[in-house]
């Protein structure tokens, strides 16, 4: 007899569970060794509390009422609950504070879209470490964790959440018209983006800058392409590059000036993780210097979360490739000139 479960959720049986457990143990080992203590927070939180972190409750869409009629939501990410917890429980703690987690989060998805409603996230949050050293620490740690998990061809995309907005402001695009432009960018609709830009009535050079920026991605050379109003954001990315290159990680980095994240609390650098074996990003994160302030404990902070089921798929693909080739598959050459 088959009893249904909601689409986008799953049962995990022992074979998969053993592998998932081994994967999360390797990541946990790497994170703990770097001084990141594991925490757990409740799956259900008060909606009004999570909304302090993000007006839309960071996309938390499953609501229930408790016995007194208060609205509870299933968390849609781990960063907001951890910011809430840090403000409550670590108000006077010495900084930086290093935390990691392995927990489920929940998002509403289109039925049959192949995406998960309930997904297992593993990640790190580094609180009280300013740019660029905070970024460099979490990026290095996650790349090292993925190495430990057996991935070989993974890369991290690095951009800046404020870049495009800064450029629009600098070009004196009226705030009312920026939303439509940013919306096309967030939807990755570069055809629509170019049309919106044309309607802004800007000079040819400004139009060119706005429409090429989202396509600038690749090695550190792309940073040289962003100047003028963008130089401070790009300065931080260049500082990250230099520190990460010193650690031997240069060939893992893709600078991506068009990178946008769906979550709105990011204030600086943003990240996405990729592996050629998986068509979806493995995870992402960024700097969120204003989030803790919304819970009454202003601190700089950044973090990265991995979707463990996708990392698991990449790990399995890597194992298959290595079984054929008997040698690790090399990184592809630098993605763009």
């Amino acid at each position: 007899m088959i009893h249904p479960i909601p689409s986008g959720t799953r049962d995990v049986l022992p074979d998969e569970m053993r592998e998932l457990r081994a994967l999360s143990d390797r990541l946990r080992g790497a994170f703990e060794q770097a001084g990141y203590g594991e925490v757990q927070t409740p799956s259900l939180e008060y909606e009004e509390v999570l909304r302090r972190g993000d007006e839309r409750g960071a996309g938390a869409l499953y609501r229930v009422f408790d016995e007194r009629g208060r609205v509870l939501v299933l968390r849609s990410d781990m960063t907001i609950p951890i910011a809430r917890m840090v403000a409550s429980r670590y108000a006077d703690a010495a900084l930086p504070l290093r935390l990691c987690y392995f927990q489920h989060a929940y998002r509403a998805v289109e039925p049959e879209s192949g995406r998960a409603r309930e997904f297992l996230q593993g990640g790190v949050e580094l609180i009280g470490a300013p740019a660029p050293h905070g970024e460099v620490e979490v990026i290095s740690l996650v790349l090292e964790g993925l190495d430990a998990a057996g991935l070989a061809r993974h890369r991290i995309g690095i951009g800046d959440a404020s870049l495009y907005g800064t450029l629009l402001a600098e070009l004196e695009v009226p705030p009312a018209r920026r939303a439509a432009v940013l919306e096309r960018l967030a939807r990755r609709d570069l055809v629509g983006l170019e049309r919106q830009i044309h309607e802004l009535g800007l000079s040819g050079a400004a139009r060119e800058l706005l429409s090429t920026l989202p396509t600038l991605r690749g090695g550190p050379a792309v940073l040289a392409r962003a100047s003028g109003p963008l130089s401070s954001a790009v300065e931080n990315l260049r500082a990250c590059y230099e520190l990460l290159a010193e650690r031997g990680l240069a060939d893992r980095l893709i600078f991506d000036l068009g990178l946008v994240r769906e979550l709105r609390y990011y204030t600086g650098a943003v990240f996405e993780l990729y592996d050629p074996a998986v068509g979806f990003r493995l995870g992402g994160g960024g700097r969120y210097d204003e989030l803790l302030g919304r819970f009454g404990a202003p601190r700089s902070a950044c973090g990265i979360a991995l979707d463990l089921q996708r990392v698991h798929a990449a790990q399995a693909a890597e194992e298959r490739l290595q079984a054929v080739d008997r040698s690790p598959v090399p990184l592809e050459p630098e993605p763009a000139a």
Binding site: G157, L190, V191, E272, G279, F280
Partner: protein, 218 residues
């Protein structure tokens, strides 16, 4: 190991196929095998996989194809698919329209007298969005093909469908009432491929633009 093609391209069968193959020829991607084999779908050595246009975003979103070509109508109907829309390829031009049987205003009359009208379409989301945004209540009836016969049989009052020449509409005594969108073929890319295969994708876009510029001047 045989040389793997640099990019796997999802190519739409149907109305967009001929123009798409001509474009790929101009880009130096061999299409003779595709032209010779109407029933084969996968041409791994050429880096081409052919499919229904509506499946292209699915293959591209999952990374089974790095890039793909499909109609804007398909992208409008599936906005949740996370793909990059990179280039308006210009061909395959058609319009998404509202039409109803000639001779009477069935949609307006049903809305006025019955409060709602029935509309058949292959594009339920775009149709629902269009009527909602214009302040009209309608009941959307999703059909998979031959939308033009739905009003003739009394299934619905009107339709939302694509038209290029207007011939199918005329043959079925339907008249266009409203234009919703102009749709053309688009180049789309998987978000991960867009980063990890940036050089190859940018080269592809550059040669598409070059070929369009040559075509335009010639």
């Amino acid at each position: 190991m045989s040389a793997t093609p640099e990019l796997m391209i999802a190519v739409p069968r149907g109305a967009l196929l001929a123009d798409t193959l001509d474009l790929l020829d101009r880009l130096g991607i061999a299409t003779d095998e595709v032209r010779r084999n109407e029933r084969r779908l996968l041409f791994a050595e050429a880096g081409i996989v052919t499919m229904r246009p509506s499946d292209v975003p699915t293959y591209v979103e999952h990374g089974a194809a790095d890039v793909g070509i499909t109609g804007k109508d398909v992208l409008l109907e599936r906005p949740e698919r996370q793909v990059y829309e990179l280039v308006d390829l210009g061909y395959g031009r058609c319009r998404m329209i509202v039409a109803e049987p000639a001779g009477r205003e069935a949609l307006a009359e049903s809305i006025r007298r019955l409060g709602t009208a029935r509309v058949a379409t292959k594009y339920p989301r775009e149709a629902a969005r269009h009527f909602a945004e214009t302040g009209r209540q309608v009941e959307i009836v999703e059909v998979k093909g031959s939308v033009e016969i739905a009003p003739l049989t009394g299934l619905v009052d009107g339709i939302v469908d694509l038209t290029a020449s207007g011939r199918t509409l005329a043959e079925n005594q339907l008249v266009e009432r409203e234009e919703i969108h102009v749709c053309t073929a688009r180049l789309i890319a998987n978000p991960v491929a867009h980063k990890l295969k940036a050089r190859r994708i940018d080269e592809l876009i550059a040669s598409i633009r070059e070929s369009a510029a040559e075509g335009g001047s010639g």
